[in-house]
């Protein structure tokens, strides 16, 4: 038994846990972060998997890290340095490509090559999406009001939200409603004709979900991209120097600078609850640590079924958590390369290798990739989002060598017959073989290959079912429904026990918003 006493203990040193800890420590609270792995970061870690080659093992780009967090915690001073990731190319099956570049005029001319009509439509579409994103953006910084509640604070929040949406005007409100309910394919069909363009745009709507581009509800995720653009002035979209682990390190450094303690290799066994109140945590080692507040940054299943006893919780919450969908659907392949891939559509070295390469040649291609997953198989020809971090940050690989990060969709957690070493290899082979259709020299360059299935993601990070967003970003489990109705305000039914992380509002990505909002809620109640 330890006599150490803290104001707050954060379970899990993922980026949201670190943000929460930094805000609590900044407000003068004695704060401790407990991370079970030997490094902080959760799914935002950089590891040298192969000697001399560094990988953002899981999460690999930054898009929605909240500007207020960057400012409040002075993250640039602690090592945050986001490098521009300026372009995306989509290699096409006919040997051509579709490019999107840093310069909007250049992008427009490129699109014009494929469809002059779409080139015009893109500008108008961009404006509409700008308005949609502006409409939704305040929600990211808001504790969700509960429409079922009559508390003055909830009512005030709902009235503000209602006023906000009314101010949009009918046209934009209708567009927002469509965006929230349609499939991304249908939504994009209303605007564009060039199929690879629609496919590439819709791909952002399927990442991390168990949906295809033709599944209703996939359209709204398109917004995320444009929300990143609204904060574009801040240039917080891109590739972190040193990989995403360096973001976690910068958050840890900021937290420590305010006096927070961070312990790694300290897995939490359970939250100590006595008299309906959280009193502290018990570590796997048997050590007990006491605190007035315990914040779980783990996913809702861990938070409500492993760390505490369901008997401590109301039935409707238990039922809600049991129904909450994880269904990890993404995998990751990390390659150490002896040289640069040579794309048939754009041979040799060039600016396109400093940006993303999207393997999304058509909507049908993506939908078929989903079909495989729907029936329990990994996609034989998956959607892939590829970056070569060493082209942007030469420190990621030895001089002249490269690292490649391949995000892969779909790889269902519940694979027919279950995942095995052989299945993992077959999945890795499918990825490399698919890429080789567009960059034939890829196989000859591979020095080392790391393949991560949802099972591996779950095993290494603890994310249930390997879902990268701590649960699907689907409409039925967002905003005041995330993770479950009535418990979307970072509180739990256990007094002093709090939740943050991607499994709470506003969801996934290296955003930090839930960590901040949870900390502010705790501070609000305890002056």
């Amino acid at each position: 038994m330890s006599a150490r006493r803290y104001d707050a203990i954060v379970i899990g040193g993922g980026h949201n846990g670190l943000v929460a800890a930094a805000y609590l420590a900044r407000a003068g609270r004695r704060t401790l972060v407990l991370e079970k792995r030997e490094r902080v970061g959760g799914a935002a870690v950089t590891e040298e998997i192969f000697p001399g080659f560094k990988f953002s093992v899981f999460s690999y780009v930054v898009s929605l890290l909240r500007p207020e967090i960057i400012r409040d915690l002075d993250l640039p001073r602690h090592g945050l340095q986001i490098l521009p990731l300026e372009s995306t190319i989509t290699p096409l099956e006919n040997g051509d490509y579709l490019g999107s570049w840093a310069d909007p005029d250049e992008t427009r001319r490129e699109l014009c090559r494929h469809s002059p009509r779409d080139a015009d439509a893109a500008a108008v579409f961009g404006r509409l999406m700008h308005h949609m994103a502006m409409a939704v953006r305040p929600i990211l910084g808001m504790v969700p009001p509960d429409p079922g509640s009559l508390s003055p604070r909830d009512l005030k929040g709902l009235i503000e939200l209602g006023g906000h949406f009314r101010a949009l005007g009918a046209e934009k409100f209708h567009a927002l409603h469509k965006l929230m309910t349609m499939s991304s394919a249908d939504y994009l069909d209303e605007w564009f004709e060039f199929d690879p363009l629609k496919a590439t745009k819709s791909a952002s709507g399927i990442i991390g979900t168990f949906l295809g581009p033709r599944s209703p509800g996939s359209a709204y995720v398109l917004l995320h991209h444009y929300m990143g653009e609204i904060d574009g002035a801040f240039r917080a979209w891109g590739f972190q120097k040193g990989g995403t682990g360096a973001i976690s390190e910068s958050l840890a450094s900021a937290a420590r600078s305010h006096g927070a303690e961070i312990r790694v290799g300290a897995g939490v066994e359970r939250v100590i609850v006595r008299g309906g109140r959280a009193r502290g945590v018990a570590l796997a080692s048997g050590e007990e640590l006491h605190a007035d507040h315990v914040i779980s940054g783990l996913d809702p299943r861990q938070t409500f079924t492993r760390l505490v006893q369901p008997a401590e919780l109301p039935d409707d919450l238990n039922r809600g958590i049991a129904r909450y969908k994880f269904r990890g659907s993404s995998g990751k392949v990390n390659l150490a390369l002896a040289g640069l891939p040579d794309f048939t559509c754009l041979p040799g070295n060039g600016p396109h290798l400093r940006g993303a390469v999207s393997i999304s040649p058509s909507l049908e291609y993506l939908e078929r990739a989903y079909d495989d997953a729907k029936y329990g198989e990994f996609s034989r020809h998956p959607y892939m989002d590829i970056v070569i971090p060493s082209m942007i940050d030469p420190g990621m690989a030895p001089p002249g060598k490269h690292v490649m990060s391949i995000f892969v969709q779909y790889a269902p957690y519940a694979l027919n017959g279950g995942w095995s070493d052989a299945k993992r290899d077959a999945f890795g082979d499918a990825v490399v073989k698919t890429l080789a259709r567009y960059a034939p020299n890829i196989e000859s360059l591979i020095l080392h290959r790391q393949v991560l299935t949802p099972h591996d993601i779950e095993r290494i990070t603890g994310l249930s079912e390997g879902n990268i967003f701590q649960g699907e970003l689907a409409l039925q489990q967002l905003f005041f429904l995330r993770p479950v109705p009535r418990w979307a305000k970072y509180r739990t039914p256990i007094h002093g026990y709090w939740q943050c992380g991607a499994g709470t509002h506003p969801g996934g990505g290296i955003m930090g918003a839930s960590g901040r909002l949870a900390a502010l809620e705790i501070l609000r109640g305890t002056p």
């Binding site: 640039p76 340095q81 521009p84 310069d103 502006m134 002035a233 001089p399």
Partner: protein
């Protein structure tokens, strides 16, 4: 006709959007890409190659070379060792700054002086009665700045001799793949970096050698737009942008003393006679009436001004060089002369001249900004310069 730099044959094909600018009578690249974001990132993340050939360069040699320089500059050149570099301003007889630049002691009695503006006449006037040979090398020598955290790695890979141990503000002679180069650990970015001085005739060979060696280190050519953002982050002042030369200022109010432009540290209190000594001593004892400092513009305030129009905040991706009034309690107390959004620090920065006592760090002020065609005032606070000062600069 504008002149072209000795590296022009290599740089010109890389300027994709023909974004050129005038710089001291030369046609120089503003940026190679249509937007400078990547070039800015190269300076702080990898390595950038910047053509700074329009700088004026003079070779001063002879028995009285040191006396000439000592008479001119505000620092004590008798303490400058062979292979050492000074950054320094120089003044007129009234202690007002004419220009700023570097002095390098190349040999016992040989020095190189660099300046932003042509300095030949001033050198000759100050050399009256002295035994010193003044040669204008401005066109004979091309200059490349190799700047960024990986600059040393690139140079080590390219140079024929061991240059890795060259300390900050020191210079030496080396060769790069057979091309003789005068090397100095200097620059205008506030980062780890070097400047390489090469005979114009061999400039292209040097460019090619550095580009080849830099391929594995993310070396990127960078233009003046990127350099401008880096120098503001580093708090480095620029002639004709942040201050006027005493030789060109049309009115007295436009002249500045070194104490007024944050260069008081470079005015020796102990050295012998030099231009402006008496005026600067007097000014130091009574205290400067102006200060040159950093301003950080409050982002929330800036965001609010945009939100009032339903707009997200907008910042240009190049530095601005228009004068902006600065206020304290509604009264103008100074003006900012340049500023930028720092993609590195995620802050809005400006360099400003402020009246005493408003230049103390932390002083709350307001700065004029134009938002949606309206002149507004955003909150700002004084920040000591530099804004950014990485350890590697001197390590």
């Amino acid at each position: 006709m504008l002149k072209t730099s000795p590296f022009h044959a290599r740089t010109a094909p890389l300027v994709r959007a023909q974004t050129w600018r005038r710089w001291a009578g030369y046609q120089m690249a503003s940026a190679y890409d249509p937007h400078p974001d990547r070039e800015v990132a190269a300076i702080r993340n990898a390595a950038a190659l910047i053509d700074v050939s329009p700088l004026y360069k003079y070779r001063l040699a002879g028995r009285d070379a040191a006396r000439l320089i000592d008479r001119m500059i505000t620092r004590d050149v008798t303490k400058l060792k062979i292979g050492q570099v000074y950054y320094t301003p120089w003044c007129d007889a009234h202690g007002k700054v004419i220009d700023d630049g570097t002095v390098t002691r190349l040999e016992e009695r040989v020095y190189r002086l660099t300046s932003a503006d042509s300095s030949l006449r001033w050198l000759q006037m100050n050399a009256f009665g002295l035994e010193v040979e003044i040669e204008d090398h401005s066109e004979r020598v091309g200059t490349l700045a190799l700047q960024g955290p990986l600059a040393r790695a690139v140079l080590t890979a390219a140079a024929d001799t061991d240059v890795a141990s060259l300390p900050y503000f020191r210079a030496c002679q080396t060769s790069v793949r057979g091309v003789p180069v005068a090397l100095s650990r200097t620059g205008y970015t506030g980062d780890l970096g070097y400047e390489l001085w090469v005979e114009s005739a061999r400039a292209l060979e040097l460019w090619d050698a550095l580009v080849a060696a830099g391929a594995s280190y993310g070396l990127s050519p960078a233009g003046v737009w990127a350099l401008d953002i880096a120098r503001i982050e580093a708090g480095l002042i620029m002639l004709d942008v942040d201050y006027y030369s005493a030789h060109h200022a049309l009115i007295e109010a436009r002249k500045s003393s070194p104490l007024e432009i944050n260069l008081g540290w470079a005015v020796s209190a102990t050295k012998g006679p030099f231009n402006g000594r008496a005026a600067l001593r007097a000014e130091r004892s009574r205290g400067a009436t102006w200060g040159f400092v950093g301003l950080e513009i409050d982002w929330r305030s800036f965001e609010r001004l945009h939100a009032a129009h339903g707009l997200p905040p907008h910042v240009p991706n190049v530095a601005w060089r228009a004068s902006a009034p600065v206020y304290a309690d509604g009264v103008q107390v100074g003006y900012a002369t340049s500023g930028c959004w720092s993609p590195l620090l995620k802050r809005l920065l400006a360099l400003a001249h402020l009246r005493a006592p408003y230049f103390r760090p932390g002083t709350p002020l307001e700065i004029e900004v134009t938002v949606e065609h309206r002149r507004e005032r955003a909150l700002a606070a004084v920040h000591a310069l530099p804004f950014y000062d990485p350890e590697r600069k001197k390590s």
